[in-house]
C-alpha cells in the first residue's frame, strides 16, 4: 500500500514538475490595483514625483545659486526682482536679491527630507516599540505605554524649541527632535493593532510550531500591521513638514543661508506690503500642492489597504 502510494506520488510529482507554479495574488498586489484605480491618488503621486524630480534636476537650469546676491537688484527688488527669464531669476528674487528659484529648490529638499526622515524614524521606532509592548503584554506593556504617556504629556513644540535653542539650530537637530516626538502616536496605534492580531489563530499556530517570539513579531505581526502603518505614515509626512514649517516660520528652523518652505513663506509674508507677492506665492504654491498630494495619497492608501471600511 505504502509502496504503491509512493509510486503514485512520484508519478504525480513528475507530471506536476512540468507545470509552472501559478503566480498568486498577494494582498499587496490587490491593494496596489485598488490604489491605481483611485484617480486623485495616482495624480498626486505623479505631481509629487514631479516636485521631487524638480528638486533634483532644477539646479542644473539655475543661473544663480541660493547664496548669491544679485547686487543689481538689491534695493530695488519690487521693480527689478520680479520673475523673469531675462535676468535668470525665474521665480524672482527675495528681499535680499537672492534667486528665489534656487532657494525654493533648496527649501523643497529640506522640507521633504524633514518629512520623510521624520516619518521613517517615527515608523521604525513606533512600530517596533508598539509591537513589542502589545505582543509581550502584561507588566512590560503597562510600563512601556506609561513611558509613552509621560512623554506625550510634555508639550512637543516646547521641547522642540528648547532643544533647538539649547543644542543649537542645525538640520540634524531638527531631524532628531521631530523624530523623537513623532513616534509616540505611532506606537500607540501599532500597539492597539498588535493586541487584535496577536489573538488571531495564525499567531497561535506559529507558537504551536515553536517559532520564537522575536520571529513571530517580525514575521507575522509586523507584516500584518503594515497596512495601518503605511496609511498613518503617509499622513505623518505632511505633519512633519507642517511642524518644520511652523518652527521655521517662528525663525527657529533651518539656519541661513539654507532655507525651507516654512522659512521662505515667513520671509515672503513679511515683505508682502512692498508689492513683492511672488516671494510668498511661489513657496506657498509648492507647499500647498505637496500637502494636498500627501493627503490624497494617504486617503488612497487607506481605501486601498482597508477595503472593508468603504
Amino acid at each position: 500500500m505504502l509502496v504503491l502510494n509512493k509510486v503514485k506520488i512520484q508519478e504525480m510529482a513528475d507530471n506536476i514538475a512540468e507545470m509552472d507554479a501559478v503566480k498568486g495574488r498577494s494582498l499587496w498586489t490587490d491593494a496596489r490595483r485598488r490604489f491605481m484605480q483611485n484617480k486623485a491618488a495616482t495624480a498626486s503621486v505623479f505631481v509629487l514625483t514631479l516636485i521631487v524630480l524638480f528638486s533634483f534636476i532644477g539646479p542644473y537650469f539655475a543661473v544663480w545659486t541660493n547664496e548669491q546676491i544679485d547686487w543689481a537688484v538689491l534695493g530695488r527688488v519690487a521693480e527689478l526682482g520680479q520673475p523673469s527669464f531675462a535676468n535668470g531669476h525665474f521665480f524672482g528674487t527675495d528681499s535680499l536679491g537672492r534667486d528665489l528659484y534656487s532657494r525654493v529648490i533648496q527649501g523643497t529638499r529640506i522640507s521633504l527630507s524633514v518629512g520623510f526622515v521624520g516619518a521613517t524614524v517615527a515608523v521604525i521606532i513606533g512600530t517596533l516599540y508598539g509591537a513589542i509592548a502589545g505582543y509581550v503584554g502584561g507588566r512590560v506593556d503597562q510600563f512601556m505605554m506609561r513611558i509613552v504617556d509621560i512623554l506625550m504629556a510634555i508639550p512637543g513644540m516646547f521641547v522642540l524649541i528648547l532643544m533647538l535653542v539649547v543644542f543649537g539650530r542645525s538640520i540634524l537637530m531638527l531631524f532628531i527632535a521631530i523624530g523623537l516626538l513623532a513616534w509616540l502616536d505611532m506606537s500607540r496605534i501599532v500597539r492597539g493593532q498588535t493586541l487584535s492580531i496577536k489573538n488571531k489563530e495564525f499567531v497561535e499556530a506559529a507558537r504551536a510550531t515553536g517559532v520564537k517570539n522575536s520571529k513571530i513579531i517580525t514575521r507575522h505581526i509586523v507584516p500584518n500591521l503594515l497596512g495601518v502603518v503605511v496609511v498613518y505614515a503617509s499622513l505623518l509626512v505632511p505633519g512633519m513638514i507642517l511642524i518644520e514649517s511652523s518652527i521655521s516660520f517662528l525663525g527657529l528652523g533651518v539656519q541661513e543661508p539654507s532655507t525651507s518652505w516654512g522659512a521662505l513663506i515667513s520671509d515672503g509674508a513679511k515683505t508682502i506690503r512692498y508689492d513683492t507677492e511672488w516671494q510668498l506665492l511661489f513657496p506657498l504654491a509648492f507647499f500647498v500642492t505637496s500637502l494636498f498630494c500627501f493627503y490624497f495619497i494617504g486617503d488612497g492608501l487607506r481605501d486601498a489597504l482597508d477595503p472593508k471600511d468603504r
Binding site: 510529482a13 507545470m19 507554479a21 488571531k200 489563530e201 504551536a208 510550531t209 515553536g210 500584518n224
Partner: protein
C-alpha cells in the same frame, strides 16, 4: 501499531483568573476552572476523541497539553519527559514532535504569506539550515500528500476554499513528521461533504505515518468514525472514557447517554421512535461549579449524595472509565 504509551496526562488543571471589571483593584480575582483534573494515556498511532458541549474546556485542554496555555498543576509526560517542567527553549524544540490543526482554517494561515512559506515555516524554524531546493521538494511532497497541487505554492490563503485551507493546515502540521497532532475541531467550520474528505485524509495519514491524534469535536458521529477511544468532558471534568465502540453501545454516564441519544440517525423510522433523553438548563458557571458531581444540576438521576460527594473516576471493566455514583 506499537503499544507504547507516548503521552500520559495526569491530573491536569488549567485555571484562569477572571477579574470583575467593577471590582476594587485589591479584591482577589475569581478562579475559572476551565480544566479541572484530567488524566489520560495516549498510545502511539491511537486517536483519542474528546467531546463535550461548547465551553466544557475541550480546546483549553488541548492548549494546556501543548503549553499554548500554561497549566495550573498536573503533569504531561511526553515520551517520559514532563512537558510542563521544560524551559521555554526545550519546549520549543519539542514542538516539532507535536503539531496542531486549528478550527478556523483560513484564520490559522497568515494572510501575508504564500502557501509555500506557510507550509515551510516549521522547517525554517527547527532546521533553518536546510537547503532551499530540499525545502521546496519537501513542501511539494507534502502538498501532493494532502491532495493539493504543488503548482499552487505561490498562492495566498484567501485564494483557497475552506477545505483547501484546512489541507494546507494539515500539510504544515505534517511536514516535520510529528508523532502527535492535536486537532482542535478541525472540521466544524467546513461543509459536511468536505468534513468527510478531511477526516478521511487524517485517517489515511494516520495509518500511513503511525500518527497519534487528539481529536476534538462536538459532532459525535465524526468522533466515532475516527477515534479509537473517546473522552467525554463536562465543565472541565471527565465524565466517561472508553473505547469508541463500547462508549456508543453501552454509555454508562447519564450525560453520555443524553449526548448519544441526541445524534440523529439517518433512518426516519428509527429516528422517529428513538427515545430522546433531554437535558435541561445550561452549562453551570465554571467560576462557581456545583459541589460534588458537576453534572448533578442537570442530571435526571441526581440524588443527595451527588451534591456532597464527588464521584470517583473509576474503571467499570475493560478500561471503561466513568465518573458517576449511579452509572449503569
Amino acid at each position: 501499531m506499537s503499544n507504547e504509551t507516548i503521552m500520559q496526562v495526569d491530573n491536569l488543571k488549567v485555571y484562569f483568573r477572571v477579574k470583575n471589571p467593577e471590582a476594587m483593584p485589591w479584591t482577589r480575582p475569581d478562579v475559572l476552572k476551565a480544566v479541572d483534573g484530567v488524566s489520560f494515556k495516549l498510545k502511539a498511532g491511537e486517536t483519542l476523541g474528546i467531546v463535550g458541549e461548547s465551553g466544557c474546556g475541550k480546546s483549553t485542554l488541548a492548549r494546556g497539553i501543548i503549553r499554548l496555555i500554561e497549566a495550573e498543576e498536573g503533569q504531561v509526560l511526553w515520551l517520559g519527559q514532563d512537558l510542563l517542567k521544560l524551559s521555554n527553549n526545550e519546549m520549543r524544540s519539542r514542538r516539532q514532535e507535536i503539531q496542531m490543526i486549528f478550527q478556523d482554517p483560513l484564520a490559522s494561515l497568515d494572510p501575508r504569506m504564500n502557501i509555500g512559506e506557510i507550509i515551510a515555516e516549521p522547517i525554517k524554524t527547527h532546521h533553518p539550515k536546510t537547503p532551499k531546493a530540499e525545502v521546496k521538494q519537501m513542501v511539494e511532497d507534502v502538498m501532493v500528500r494532502v491532495g493539493l497541487l504543488p503548482n499552487l505554492v505561490n498562492r495566498y490563503p484567501h485564494e483557497f476554499s475552506g477545505g483547501q485551507c484546512q489541507r494546507i493546515g494539515i500539510a504544515r502540521a505534517l511536514i516535520l513528521k510529528p508523532k502527535l497532532i492535536v486537532c482542535d475541531e478541525p472540521v466544524s467550520a467546513l461543509d459536511v461533504s468536505i468534513q468527510a474528505q478531511v477526516v478521511n485524509l487524517l485517517k489515511e495519514l494516520q495509518d500511513e505515518m503511525g500518527l497519534a491524534l487528539i481529536f476534538i469535536a462536538h459532532d459525535l458521529s465524526i468522533v466515532k468514525h475516527i477515534s479509537t477511544r473517546i473522552m467525554v468532558l463536562y465543565l472541565g471534568n471527565m465524565m466517561e472514557l472508553a473505547d469508541s465502540a463500547d462508549l456508543y453501545d453501552r454509555p454508562r454516564h447519564p450525560y453520555t447517554q443524553a449526548l448519544i441519544s441526541a445524534v440523529p440517525i439517518p433512518d426516519p423510522l428509527i429516528e422517529k421512535n428513538k427515545e430522546l433523553i433531554l437535558i435541561e438548563g445550561d452549562l453551570p458557571s465554571a467560576i462557581n461549579p456545583p459541589s460534588g458531581c458537576v453534572f448533578r444540576t442537570r442530571c435526571p438521576k441526581a440524588q443527595d449524595i451527588c451534591a456532597s460527594d464527588k464521584p470517583v473516576f473509576e474503571d467499570t471493566g475493560k478500561g471503561h472509565m466513568v465518573a458517576c455514583h449511579f452509572h449503569d
